[in-house]
């Protein structure tokens, strides 16, 4: 097995398993640990407050969107592209079709996926510049904030290059772009459960906790 087939085979499987099992573990750990150390959220739990807070914050229907409209438009777009492009890209779906799962679903038109990728990358650059140049954000940023932003953007950048052959004339990069694409995607998946990217799952638990805490005061946040 050469390196390429390792990356598109066993490593990909591993990355997906780490991602899925890792996220499930974070959720299970939260649940079990909170049963003993955060009893209040279980005792006062009410679905109404929990669902309403998740609805408000998954959709841009909350106070912070009103406070920071521009930033909110950008970050909501960022997240939509981040989820939609990899899942609904025709090139990815055809891989699922060929896989042992043999599943399929409708794809995004290619040009839409392209624009979403560019929008995503543009916003990623904005977020990076904001971290570097805003005195506020620079102070609170840690190494991992910069690192993870790059890790998250790389699969998109390399994916775009690979599909459009942008760097094909640059010998080493051009030849291995698809390899870099897979590696960066796998790196991101593996890092999700162990870094702040775990908010993909913990967002729901964190918001629910806050909703219960204020819900027991009689209002919804």
């Amino acid at each position: 097995m050469n390196f390429y087939s390792f990356v598109e085979g066993p490593l990909l499987w591993t990355a997906f398993l780490v991602f899925i099992i890792g996220c499930v573990m974070r959720a299970v750990t939260f649940y079990t640990e909170s049963r003993t150390k955060d009893k209040v959220i279980h005792e006062q739990f009410k679905w109404g407050y929990v669902l309403s807070t998740i609805f408000r914050w998954l959709l841009p229907l909350n106070v912070t969107v009103r406070k920071n409209p521009v930033y909110s438009v950008l970050t909501y777009t960022f997240h939509i592209c981040l989820l939609a492009v990899p899942i609904f890209l025709a090139g990815h779906i055809s891989l699922w079709e060929e896989s042992v799962f043999a599943v399929s679903w409708p794809a995004l038109p290619q040009n839409v996926a392209d624009w979403m990728t560019l929008a995503f990358l543009g916003i990623a650059v904005f977020l990076l510049l904001r971290r570097i140049f805003s005195a506020d954000i620079r102070l609170i940023s840690t190494f991992s904030d910069y690192f993870l932003l790059v890790v998250t953007a790389l699969p998109f950048l390399t994916g775009y290059f690979a599909t459009h052959g942008t760097l094909n004339h640059v010998a080493f990069l051009g030849d291995n772009m698809m390899l870099f694409h897979m590696l960066s995607g796998e790196l991101m998946l593996i890092l999700i459960p162990f870094t702040k990217l775990s908010h993909i799952i913990l967002f729901f638990f964190s918001r629910a906790s806050a909703a219960v805490e204020f819900g027991r005061r009689g209002y919804s946040i």
């Binding site: 209040v40 912070t64 609170i140 964190s206």
Partner: protein, 428 residues
Amino acid sequence: MSGEIIPRTIMEFLTPRLGARLKTWLSICAHCGMCADTCHFYLAHNRDPKMIPSYKIRFINDIIKKYGGVDREYLQEIYKTVYYECNMCRRCTLYCPFGIDIAMMISLLRAMLLSQGMAPQGLLAAINNYKESGNQMNISDEEWVETVQWIEEEMSEELVGLTVPIDKHGAKIMYTVNAREPKFYPQDMMEVAKIFYVAGEDYTYCSQPGWDDTNLAMFAGDVQTARTIVENVFKRADELGVEKVAVTECGHAFRAVKYEAPGWLGYTPKQEVVHSVELFHDYIRDGRIKLRHKIKEPTTVQDPCNVVRNGGLMDKNRRLAEMLSEDFRPMKLQGNYSYCCGGGGGAMPMGGEMKKYRLQSGKIKAEQIRETGAKIIFVPCHNCIDQIRDLNKEYDLGVKAIHFKEAIAELMVIPEHMKPKEQAEDDE
């Protein structure tokens, strides 16, 4: 405070206290900065990045990374941040996309400092008093009972038949006060005696520890003392067989007795806990108290963090103010999303060391008060009222801060049969 820090003791304190929520928040905070301009410290310090809420809790991850290997100087830095730069008002939590509870982490850091022998003198003094006498002002049980009796004597001259019940078994409500009231502000107790009498409330004081519901131990993270205080309150309530525990116009006491007590005690007390704002609101709404007239001057109302945002009384607080006023002027931000006045989280009882910080951080609230043009501000919290009176001087707001009870006692209709003979004749 001097002495070497033993890393093991720091970790032994922190580790068991890092629950699922705290760990999650420490790992998912995206450092997006959305909390920055929600903080009155940040705004009052000309948007100083060091005042960003998420920055103030950086110490926890840092200590964990160092396995507790920090020195006294480092703890001093934490002390400055958690005491001088945060009122634990929780406004930032409402704006955080993840709902991260910064105040809870500040509270943990304060508790950790206390475990290393560091806490503000003002809070430590109060904690010692609680331990000695069960109340923050170290008033003896005899003095307390004498004060209540004296208030009854005074007030029964004003209103015929007025009594101030103490240890009345089977009363509906056990009313608890802030120890400042018997010590420095007996008029608060006098006003409330009148209000309860006119409203026909079936209430009682208790003669033993539990009558002071304040909980300054909570601000220093002294859970053991905090628990003892609320334990006393409910012990007395059980003994007297009351249905409800009512809390004076004090914010943190209400929060401690109503929302923190179940966690500290490990069970939910059977008595319902109500704040004076609720009682007064319902008296007027239900016609148990009628007003001769409303206040004519422009008024506004303070939303104490622990009565409104953390007490859930946003609507009743505002409606009570409206019911008492002809010209009620809400602040730009009224209710759950209002700014802290800068006096919360122990800032007032910390005394002199905190003064310049709280006067500065109170600037945002001061501006909001000024914008209303109000001449009177209702303040249903002891800490807020002191702070707002200080802000009034510092920022020259031209406003008079009063408790609701002062206005109600002044404005309510006294039924004829309660008026003393001479006065009734004078009125005719």
